[in-house]
Symmetry: C2
């Protein structure tokens, strides 16, 4: 059996360079979409429907869903909430279906959903669960960082590095982007919060007064829930 | 006066995301195009004409130029040479004009030449000279890594990090890609050769039997020559 690959795609703009037909794609948007999705399913949400645009999100208005829309770090006017994990607590979302659109995370997901063999959602919240699942499946892996408006960002890269670190121990081979991500995670892991305080996105969130979200999203392994795309819906993976 | 920016674009595929009309762009293709260009002008080449395709290169055949073409790490059949720095020694190229096409480096250059305010060529060979020049000019800077077929690579990123390190000391602000590059360079700089031995491109060159090129291209500050694009030609910058 040939060694499996773990590659890191730093932004959705580079996705066309990768062959994902035979890969499991892990979508990563640490601040904050994929963290909130993991937290929501952990807290009993029935499903989360990711959509690309605010208009698509609004189209679900009549279906008794919770509507969540974020653009440029803020809740879009008229929506129940955006992508702060504090909106995805059990009392707010248990047994509900949420329709979600965000600046980067759902954009990344929508760019690969027609081609990928399987799509799952990663965040520091479910790091070990994601790694264990990937290793158990033994498929090639693409770690797709949502970035910021198609540019590279550090926090998504750090999470990618954390996954690469674990997969390499199970004999996965990485590309240069994986090696760089792993080395950056190794630098940062002793104090992720201190390290990410120098990221551009962290600055952006601080200006918006949502610094607590950053700290919250950097917690490791608070859940074993793995959101998986099933048709149009993200649901909790059962395996 | 507002602080100047130094941004890092990890691959030519991401170039459309950056505004380069008011920036000096530094093209980086460490293994080996931009190293060889710097070495060639250092060794007295009159000019180097970068072209995108092998066909364009061939069109210069009647002009008494040296023709250099590389694809996938190897000299293209029928050409004087490719992009090994050992082909750009004084006895081979002094006072000559070279027409050059390579897999990544000239591709990167051609993607930005119609828009950039100024284009210069960077490599470890002229690291300090490039940094001193950029700081003296005080313009915004985009460090454009040629990558490998539009994917991220480590060695170009390390050089970008070396430039970011110096520019930040002169109060330039960097983006996340700049911060990541600087941190990776900081990890690698004590022994660049050991660090780059884990890159994919290094593996590729070793397979081609041109490992000596790698060691050679990692020498720091052997020249103060800065190639600058002047019309269609790269010439030695005089400032």
């Amino acid at each position: 059996m040939s060694a499996k690959k773990v590659e890191v795609c730093f932004t959705p703009a580079l996705l066309p360079l990768y062959n994902i037909a035979n890969a499991t794609v892990v979508i990563i948007d640490i601040f904050r979409a994929t963290s909130s999705i993991c937290y929501g399913l952990h807290n009993g949400a029935q499903a989360i429907i990711p959509v690309a645009t605010v208009e698509e999100c609004l189209a679900y208005q009549t279906h008794n869903y919770l509507l969540a829309a974020e653009r440029d770090g803020q809740v879009v006017d008229g929506f129940d909430f955006g992508n702060s994990p504090f909106s995805y607590t059990r009392e707010k979302i248990e047994s509900k279906t949420i329709v979600l659109t965000t600046t980067n995370g759902t954009h990344a997901l929508n760019k690969c959903k027609s081609e990928a063999q399987q799509i799952i959602i990663g965040s520091f919240f479910n790091l070990d669960a994601v790694c264990n699942y990937l290793i158990s499946q033994g498929e090639n892996v693409l770690l797709l960082c949502a970035g910021w408006k198609d540019k590279f960002n550090l926090e998504d890269t750090l999470f990618a590095g954390a996954v690469v670190e674990q997969l390499k121990k199970s004999d996965y081979l990485s590309d240069d982007a994986g090696t760089a991500s792993q080395d950056l995670y190794d630098l940062a892991k002793a104090d992720l919060y201190a390290y990410t305080s120098k990221t551009s996105h962290s600055e952006r969130l601080k200006k918006l007064g949502i610094e607590e979200d950053i700290k919250f999203c950097l917690q490791l392994n608070i859940t074993t829930a793995i959101p998986v795309l099933n048709g149009e819906k993200l649901e909790c993976l059962v395996w």
